[in-house]
């Protein structure tokens, strides 16, 4: 789910070498350089901003807090990082990354021109772009003007996004820990609702619990009307909704995970949504298409209506790449890939406000599918899925 952006990230974002050691980043850099060599691209510009920073953070650990940031990469030299903010803020910025060469971006066009002019054979360069879809119109103009003076631009976003789709064992472990915090947050939300709290109070309780458990960030959406789809909070109102549907996103050590929950009077929709999710989980394996999984879920939901939340999403997991931040679009033709992590959502709607959404997070391997986070029930589901394959 796309979440409301925060004006400033305040959680613990310093690079923690115990959680993500340097060799992990070096391996990622090697993967990227291999693609650059294959594509005959001499240099790469990686963009991130406080709305979307997946590529940048995956490569450098750096999460931009105050505006756009750029990693500058060529085939041999150390990575350079240009960040927004004044030079006097560099000490705080340097704590966020393993990169040594961190500087304030200043004038973007001039900074890029300086860098490009220092590269060997600067004339006739091919310069790749990654993480650029959410680059602002103004930044994009500066970037293209700078690069076109030296050579041509090669769009590498889709090619390089594919590189980080498969999660390493360490990434998988961090996602497990993120999911464990999600469970704590989820339980706190449910507990608050059981004690009569409104949606906003329950969200605050869930948020506090997640932070206490080590989350870097927490974002929560909840129904604005009985049985409504989860939306961002506006104002200080604290409505009691029945059913109340929420989506909680938790970030730990750079990795986002998310989960839906439905609470309130148990009506038919929840039963059907759970059945649909169970069916989807039992068929979730490598090479299964998103559309086939969706069809399986829709069959189980009948005679209820499948709402727009019956779907499968790649869990980008770094940056706010949860679902539709990059512009949405059809994912019907995609399939589950070994090494990928996905969210499965099942939403059912009946008469009136009778509506429910449940979800799970799965990690897909060539021969196995691991449920990292279920909202259906306890860990027995994970066992049953594994046994069924």
């Amino acid at each position: 789910m796309r979440m409301m952006n925060a004006a400033l990230l305040t959680g613990p974002y310093d690079w923690d070498a115990e959680l993500l050691p340097l060799p992990e980043f070096q391996q990622r850099l090697a993967q990227v350089r291999k693609v650059l060599a294959e594509q005959q691209v001499a240099a790469l510009l990686v963009h991130g901003n406080s709305l979307e920073y997946g590529a940048l953070a995956w490569l450098t650990g750096f999460v931009p807090k105050l505006g756009p940031a750029f990693a500058l990469i060529n085939i041999e030299d150390p990575i350079r990082l240009l960040i927004s903010g004044s030079p006097s803020m560099l000490p705080a910025a340097k704590r966020l990354t393993w990169i040594d060469d961190v500087n304030a971006v200043g004038d973007l066009k001039s900074s890029l021109t300086d860098w490009l002019s220092q590269l060997r054979d600067a004339a006739g360069l091919s310069v790749g772009l990654w993480g650029d879809p959410l680059m602002t119109f103004r930044a994009n103009l500066a970037v293209r003007t700078a690069i076109q003076r030296f050579g041509r631009i090669v769009e590498l976003h889709d090619r390089l996004q594919a590189v980080r789709l498969a999660k390493s064992p360490r990434e998988r472990e961090l996602l497990r820990r993120a999911c464990a915090i999600l469970t704590i947050s989820h339980d706190a939300f449910l507990d608050a609702v059981r004690h009569g709290c409104g949606a906003r109070s329950a969200a605050l309780a869930a948020e506090r619990s997640a932070f206490q458990a080590g989350a870097q960030d927490v974002r929560i959406l909840a129904s604005a009307k009985d049985g409504g789809a989860p939306v961002a909070f506006d104002g200080a109102v604290d409505p009691i909704r029945n059913p109340l549907i929420a989506c909680i996103a938790v970030r730990f050590a750079g990795y986002w995970t998310e989960g839906f929950l439905t609470c309130g009077t148990n009506r038919g929709s929840l039963v059907r949504a759970q059945a649909a999710l169970s069916a989807m989980l039992s068929h979730a394996r490598a090479d299964q298409t998103f559309s086939a999984l969706r069809a399986i879920g829709e069959r189980e939901i009948s005679p209820y209506r499948a709402n727009r939340f019956i779907r499968v999403d790649e869990l980008d997991s770094i940056g706010l790449g949860l679902d539709d931040v990059s512009g949405g679009g059809s994912r019907a033709g995609r399939d589950l890939k070994a090494g990928g992590v996905y969210t499965l959502c099942a939403g059912a709607a009946g008469e009136g406000s009778d509506s429910a959404i449940v979800s799970a997070v799965i990690a897909v391997d060539a021969r196995n599918t691991e449920i990292l986070w279920p909202s259906v029930a306890g860990p027995s589901d994970a066992v049953s899925v594994r046994e069924s394959q």
């Binding site: 305040t10 974002y13 604005a224």
Partner: protein, 379 residues
């Protein structure tokens, strides 16, 4: 002033500049010091990108993304004509293509901050007779509405309670991030929907920075910009806290910065240039021998407007010659580097009144102290 009045002003400007259609945009990032044209005109804080189409003589249409935000628009905003869609660029481009814009003048606001692919797609469909309208748009609508002023007052009250909470909870051993997270949770529990909270500490600060995992230590000077947003309207107070009893020199320099702030605030009235506030702040510091530190790289601005929506009158800086009008709001913060003690924060949000100024807060800035009884405690 209310949103209808503001829209009326915009329509008058459209007529004066022969603009037939205004396309106001938002990138969904709601910041303290960045403008948001959609929020400014209709109050809606978009989750994703959004556009508001204002036809000179008639309709106003809001297009928001993603489609899932429909319930929120319906529940919280009293818009009459709106659409919530996932393919915002395609839908809007199609709408514009069918609107026969070849003969009309189209003005845009906020496109520089949109994702470029979305901006290019919409611009391509908007015809050839395009004009960037940002300057005119914001200059003519710089006054806050009564509701925005009320919300800023609420946000300021939350900020002040946040500062009180900081004094209660912060102690040596806690990380900056842990303090910031707890304060954010606290201000949300008071009704804030967001908080641009810069909080950092050092024995000698060069600036206030986003919070890190550095642990607070006795002798530190903790800096905090509390900037909660209440129902979308930000305010800001800037504060400095001594970890342990303040050295006499710190208290003395803090008092100097505070005097500079009040000198700036006391110049505020309709009709003066924004630069006069900055100059008044500088004069106090220059007289104390810190002229060098009133210029870049040490100093860039002495405050700024308060979004989201419009951030008029812009930065409180020597090169800002905008003229103050009643019901403008901004924070005045000297936030000065002093070589003997480092960077110090001191700032208050003000509203321009018909004859002068009003401070939005009730607890003026003073040097805070985290008591020695907390020393040695760790979290």
């Amino acid at each position: 002033m209310n949103l209808a009045d503001r829209m009326h002003v915009v329509r008058k400007q459209m007529a004066a500049h022969d603009v037939d259609l205004l396309i106001a945009s938002s990138n969904g990032f709601h910041a303290l010091d960045k403008p948001d044209a959609v929020t400014h005109l209709c109050g809606y804080r978009s989750l994703g990108e959004s556009f508001l189409l204002v036809h000179r003589g008639g309709s106003v249409n809001l297009y928001v993304s993603p489609a899932g935000d429909a319930d929120r628009v319906a529940a919280y905003y009293s818009m009459s004509r709106w659409s919530a869609i996932d393919d915002l660029g395609g839908t809007l481009a199609s709408h514009l293509s069918h609107s026969r814009l070849t003969t009309v003048r189209v003005a845009t606001v906020g496109f520089d901050s949109l994702p470029y692919r979305l901006a290019e797609r919409v611009l391509a469909a908007a015809g050839d007779n395009l004009v960037a309208f940002d300057s005119i748009f914001y200059a003519s609508t710089a006054q806050k509405t009564e509701t925005e002023i009320q919300r800023a007052s609420q946000a300021t009250a939350i900020a002040e309670q946040g500062f009180d909470r900081l004094i209660e909870l912060a102690h040596p051993g806690m990380t900056e991030a842990s303090i910031a997270v707890q304060l954010n949770c606290f201000t949300k529990s008071l009704g804030a929907n967001d908080n641009f909270l810069m909080l950092s500490a050092s024995t000698h600060n060069s600036a206030v920075m986003p919070s890190s995992s550095r642990r607070l230590a006795p002798g530190d000077i903790l800096l905090a910009e509390f900037s909660p947003s209440f129902e979308g309207q930000f305010s800001q107070i800037c504060r400095t806290v001594s970890c342990g009893p303040p050295r006499p020199e710190l208290q003395e320099k803090y008092d100097l910065v505070k005097r500079a702030m009040w000198a700036g605030i006391e110049t505020v009235r309709p009709g003066i240039a924004v630069s006069e506030i900055s100059k008044a702040v500088d004069r106090v510091l220059e007289a104390a021998g810190y002229e060098e530190y009133c210029r870049p790289p040490y100093m860039r601005r002495r405050g700024h407007g308060l979004g989201c929506g419009s951030v008029a009158p812009g930065d409180i800086a020597r090169d800002n010659h905008a003229i103050l009008e009643a019901d403008m709001m901004f924070v005045v913060h000297p936030n000065q580097y002093i070589p003997e003690v480092g960077y110090l924060l001191c700032g208050e949000p003000v509203r321009v009144t018909a004859t002068g100024y009003e401070i939005l807060g009730e607890q003026p800035a003073k040097l805070g102290t985290i008591g020695p009884e907390h020393a040695g405690c760790a979290q």
